[in-house]
């Protein structure tokens, strides 16, 4: 009963937060940022930094952090509803690498000195962070990573290559999984290091993707010296940090909000091209709408189960699977409805942006744990097969 009352209070707080977000979006979004975002234009670094700092001014960027590090101890539901609402409104992406990924890892595993040094700058988006996880030989099988860090006096010397590193071209820092030891179990002997991107030996090469933009990179590390102070957690126990981070990465309310946003855009597109009375199209969109409602119900039930400590371990995987697959189906339908504008890179209005989003979003079922990996996780953790 006490739990039921607590849950009611958290639900009310989440609802109030949604309303504040809607007011903020209506009243306080800088016009140019709102326009670019609504048109699905590609944002540059300055746009994102402005956006992240704006969120911090509202008290939202790190509200999910513990209070002793400047957060407000937001519950999972509040964090989820917050991301969901922003995405429903078509706001820019919350750049997660600092505030959502490495920040909470430092809160949980960092030394006091690391926390003092990095957390305030992460909160204010003064450093741009990149995520150095995947390697050419370690994609879905992340534990097969082979970037070596060898201890030499008061530093590690790091050699290897990272790949698919999002916005590494803008990064000041990269949190990085490296191998500090070879052990029988691949997950052992991995360490979590913070690499200064200005260090000698770090080079970043762009990877061109089919949407025509520069999101992802190769990062080469050649005899890069990293002070021992930049090791997070124990040497050889970096997999714990990685798992902790992955859970935060996959529990993303933005996925649900993006689905609702894309669905509304699709209904509007059908009206814009004069197909409001097209029964076959209404059926197609209606089926997607039904899946969106199922996702919404699933996601919030899962979040509440996680908050109650009643999770089965598959919640984040289920949300990610259903949301990314639905996002792709919605984008496909939107491209179909747009007709000629759906295959032009120079289409008017937001069509060009929708086309590019569609192309890049094919990666959504690949990054952050491919759909097949998510299914493997559920088979193992829940079905015990």
């Amino acid at each position: 009963m006490a739990h039921a009352e607590a849950l009611t209070q958290v639900r009310e707080r989440a609802q109030a937060l949604r309303e504040r977000v809607r007011r903020f979006h209506a009243d306080d979004m800088p016009a140019e940022l709102a326009r670019k975002s609504a048109q699905h234009e590609v944002l540059d670094k300055a746009d994102y930094v402005q956006w992240m700092q704006l969120l911090h001014e509202q008290g939202w960027a790190i509200a999910h952090w513990p209070a002793e590090h400047g957060g407000q101890n937001w519950s999972l539901l509040e964090r989820f509803a917050f991301e969901d609402e922003l995405a429903r409104l078509g706001c820019p992406w919350i750049i997660p690498f600092g505030v959502k990924y490495v920040g909470p890892v430092l809160c949980a595993y960092g030394t006091a000195a690391q926390q003092r040094r990095f957390l305030p700058r992460i909160a204010r988006s003064e450093d741009w962070w990149a995520q150095g996880y995947s390697e050419p030989g370690a994609g879905s099988d992340l534990a097969a990573l082979n970037t070596q860090a060898v201890r030499s006096g008061d530093r590690y010397v790091v050699n290897g290559q990272k790949v698919w590193t999002t916005y590494a071209q803008w990064a000041d820092w990269m949190f990085c999984l490296v191998r500090t030891q070879r052990e029988a179990k691949a997950q052992h002997g991995i360490s979590f290091l913070l690499v200064d991107m200005k260090s000698p030996g770090v080079s970043v090469r762009p990877i061109a993707t089919m949407d025509g933009y520069h999101h992802v990179n190769e990062v080469w590390l050649q005899d890069v010296e990293v002070p021992l102070d930049n090791l997070v957690g124990e040497e050889g126990r970096g997999w714990d940090c990685a798992k902790f981070l992955l859970k935060n990465e996959r529990t993303a309310g933005a996925l649900v909000g993006m689905v609702w946003h894309a669905l509304q855009r699709l209904w509007r597109a059908a009206a814009e091209v004069g197909r409001s009375a097209d029964v076959a199209l209404a059926q197609r969109i209606g089926e997607l709408h039904l899946r969106a409602l199922a996702l919404d119900a699933l996601a919030y039930r899962a979040v509440e189960a996680m908050m109650a400590g009643a999770e089965n371990g598959a919640e984040a995987s289920m949300i990610k699977l259903r949301a990314t697959e639905l996002c792709q189906a919605l984008a496909e339908a939107t491209i179909d409805v747009l007709g000629p504008a759906g295959v032009s890179l120079e289409a008017a209005g937001d069509a060009g942006g929708l086309v590019k989003d569609h192309l890049y979003n094919r990666a959504a079922t690949i990054f952050g744990g491919a759909s097949e990996i998510q299914r493997n996780i559920i088979a193992k953790t829940v079905l015990r097969l």
Partner: protein, 359 residues
């Protein structure tokens, strides 16, 4: 919503059913009694299941949608045959909403005591009430074969609006019914109402609203029943994959089968989540309620059917045998999908509510 009451009711129902309603006993019941006997029905009365929809002041439990759902999940997982949904939930719910004090006095005590069974026939617009008499037919009335009385939704010829009435099986001239079995073993009847003078249920003159509410409650209860079926199907399938050996290893060692089982699991979780949301939606104004409820039934129908199909497939040949519960759950879901608004009708209703993008 009272989660504790619902949980306790569900656990008690499962305990009773585990002891009295395993598959061999169920098969035996079906063979000996055709799926209904007065003794079991009065046991259900003792367990309180027949008083769920009755107000506390009239000796009932006034249970919310969550509690009804907890019982219906057990009805689905254990494949109970008796008319809990049609009599204790839908028809009793309509009486509670529409019956006069005299009608309540006549029916609610015998219903909660397990001495009467009601069926519900949504026979509009074909069945017409005119000048005090009812004419027309109702097809495939679930448990119409054993009902002591039938609550009928018919068309009022004068107003051209829906009306509700109650026809007793022993009335004169008596209703003519042709009884038969549905695919899942439960009884049903096609009923002719030829010039009967029914008892009109009209405390609230908006019968249409009462019927819509009852159908919404029925759809949500069916979602919970489907969830019970799906949990049982997945659990049996998981067990089979873990135990059955082929090519020198368990079936479940094959990734392609693991991923199909995972899809079944995700469908189960979506059915659970959508059902919970539909249960909450029963408290909303009718228009909002109907979009969520119709969406839930439309989604659950298709998702549960997929789980049932895959459960049969992954079991192999034994999946279609009488001996395994899998085939019985398959048939229950098949029948339920057509009752109280089929998938196409529910989806059309959902679509009408969301079309254009207003959510």
């Amino acid at each position: 919503m009272d989660t504790d009451t619902a949980r306790l009711l569900g656990e008690a129902a499962e305990r009773w059913a585990a002891e009295h309603y395993d598959l061999p006993r169920r098969t035996h019941r079906l063979r000996c009694t055709g799926g209904f006997d007065a003794a079991t029905w009065s046991t259900y009365a003792e367990l309180g299941w027949l008083a769920l929809r009755v107000p506390e002041l009239e000796g009932g439990l006034d249970a919310d949608a969550l509690a009804v759902g907890a019982l219906m999940e057990v009805v689905g997982s254990r494949l109970l045959l008796e008319p809990i949904l049609s009599s204790a939930i839908v028809a009793t719910g309509l009486l509670v909403r529409q019956a006069s004090p005299a009608q309540r006095e006549r029916w609610l005590p015998v219903l909660t005591a397990g001495r009467a069974v009601l069926a519900f026939a949504d026979a509009q617009p074909g069945c017409v009430w005119h000048a005090g008499t009812l004419r027309g037919q109702a097809r495939a009335v679930l448990h119409g074969d054993v009902a002591s009385a039938v609550v009928v939704a018919a068309l009022d010829a004068a107003t051209q609006r829906p009306m509700l009435c109650l026809v007793e099986a022993g009335a004169t001239p008596s209703l003519r019914r042709r009884a038969y079995r549905l695919v899942d073993g439960r009884g049903a009847a096609d009923i002719d109402f030829d010039g009967l003078s029914p008892d009109v249920l009209a405390v609230d003159d908006d019968a249409a609203a009462a019927i819509d509410t009852a159908l919404a409650e029925a759809a949500v209860a069916q979602c919970a029943e489907a969830l019970g079926c799906v949990r049982a199907l997945l659990s049996a399938t998981r067990e089979h994959l873990a135990v059955r050996q082929q090519f020198g290893r368990p079936l479940g060692a094959n990734q392609v089968l693991q991923h199909r089982a995972v899809e079944m699991f995700m469908l189960q979780e979506e059915i659970a989540a959508f059902t919970a949301r539909a249960q909450q939606a029963l408290a909303l104004p009718a228009a909002e309620r109907d979009v969520i409820v119709a969406g839930a039934k439309a989604y659950v129908c298709r998702a549960a059917r997929q789980v049932a199909n895959d459960a049969v497939q992954l079991h192999g040949g034994v999946g279609i045998t009488e001996e395994l519960s899998v085939s019985h759950h398959f048939r229950r879901l098949m029948v339920n999908a057509t009752l109280f608004g089929d998938r196409d009708a529910q989806f059309a209703r959902f679509l009408a509510g969301v079309e254009g993008g207003a959510r």
